[in-house]
Chain length 177, copies 2
C-alpha cells in the first residue's frame, strides 16, 4: 500500500459521484470481475474463475503488504466497485535519479465506459497521486489493440514515446529447475 | 535489493569474461557515466554532472534499500563496469495474479556495444532472474527511436505488443502544493 496517497477521495463525474480508496481483501471478487469484463484481459486468462481465486487472493495480499504497490478501487454511490487500477512506485537512476509511478491494469466496468470515470481516475493519478508520492514521471503501457485507450491517454497529456515489450516466461524453460 | 537473485554470476561473451553483481554505493560514478554515455539519456538530462550527484546517490541508496528493486552492474576482468540495468519486481492482479519483472535503464558502455554483453545480460534476465524471483512476465519499454534495441529485444523473444506512454509531472502543476 502506498501510504503517501491521500485517500479516500471523492470526485464528481458527468454521471455519478465516485469514491476512490485502497482496495481491501473483500474487494477481491469485484476486482476479478472487472479484470474479466474486458475482451483483451479475458483473452489472457482473466476469466474470474473460482479455481483462479487463490492466485488472485495471494496477489492482492502481496500488493496490500507491499509499501511500493497499491491496488485502488473506485466505488459509486450505490457501493459498487466500477473501476480499479494498480500503482507501483519505482525509485530509479535514469533521468537524474527520478522516481516513477507505474500504472497497470486500469479497468472500468463495461457498463460505465465513456462516462468520464477513467478520465477522472487517470487525471487524479497525474495531478494528485504523482505529487503525493513525489514521482516525476508517470508511465504505463497499453496493448497496441486498445486504440481508444491510446487516444484517451494522449488527451490526458501522456506521450506515446516508447514501445512496450513483454516476454512470457515459460515454466518449461530448461533453466527453470 | 532483490534477495532472491542468485548473484554474483559470471558469463563468457564473445570477447570477454563478465561478472554480474548487485550495485554498491561505490559504483555510483560508473553508473552515472554509463547513463550519460548514451545520446537519448543525455538528451533527458543524464550528463553525469557533479551537481546531480546527490540525486543519483540518494536514488541508488533507495534502490539498494528497497526489497522490490535492484540495480545490477556487469564488470569485466579488468574491474571496469561495462553495463548496468535496473530490475523491479511487481506483484499484480492481471494475468491471474502474475508477478512481473520490469527492466529499466539498460545501458552498455559505448566501447562495448555489439560485443554480446547486452544480449548475455538480457538472456540472464529472462532465463535466470525471472525464474529466481518467480515472475511470469518480463517487461520493458524502449524509446521508439532505439530501432536497433527493438530488433535486439525481438531476437531475444520479447513481443512488442504494447505502446509505452510517459507523462512528465511538472512541479509547476497547480496541484503540486
Amino acid at each position: 500500500m502506498l501510504d503517501l496517497l491521500k485517500l479516500p477521495v471523492s470526485f464528481d463525474t458527468a454521471t455519478a459521484k465516485l469514491h476512490l480508496r485502497h482496495a481491501r481483501r473483500d474487494d477481491l471478487h469485484a476486482i476479478m470481475r472487472l479484470l474479466s469484463d474486458d475482451p483483451i484481459s479475458s483473452g489472457r486468462g482473466d476469466v474470474a474463475s473460482d479455481q483462479d481465486e487463490p492466485a488472485y487472493d495471494a496477489a492482492l495480499d502481496r500488493i496490500i503488504q507491499d509499501p511500493g504497490n497499491d491496488v485502488l478501487v473506485a466505488v459509486d454511490d450505490a457501493g459498487s466497485v466500477v473501476g480499479t487500477f494498480q500503482l507501483t512506485l519505482i525509485p530509479g537512476m535514469a533521468r537524474r535519479g527520478s522516481t516513477r509511478l507505474l500504472v497497470e491494469a486500469v479497468r472500468i466496468s463495461s457498463t460505465e465506459r465513456s462516462s468520464g470515470i477513467g478520465s477522472a481516475l487517470m487525471r487524479w493519478v497525474v495531478e494528485r497521486a504523482a505529487i503525493d508520492v513525489r514521482a516525476s514521471v508517470v508511465q504505463l503501457t497499453s496493448d497496441a489493440a486498445r486504440v481508444d485507450a491510446h487516444r484517451f491517454y494522449r488527451r490526458l497529456g501522456f506521450i506515446d514515446s516508447h514501445i512496450g515489450f513483454k516476454y512470457h516466461v515459460t515454466a518449461a524453460s530448461p533453466t527453470s529447475q
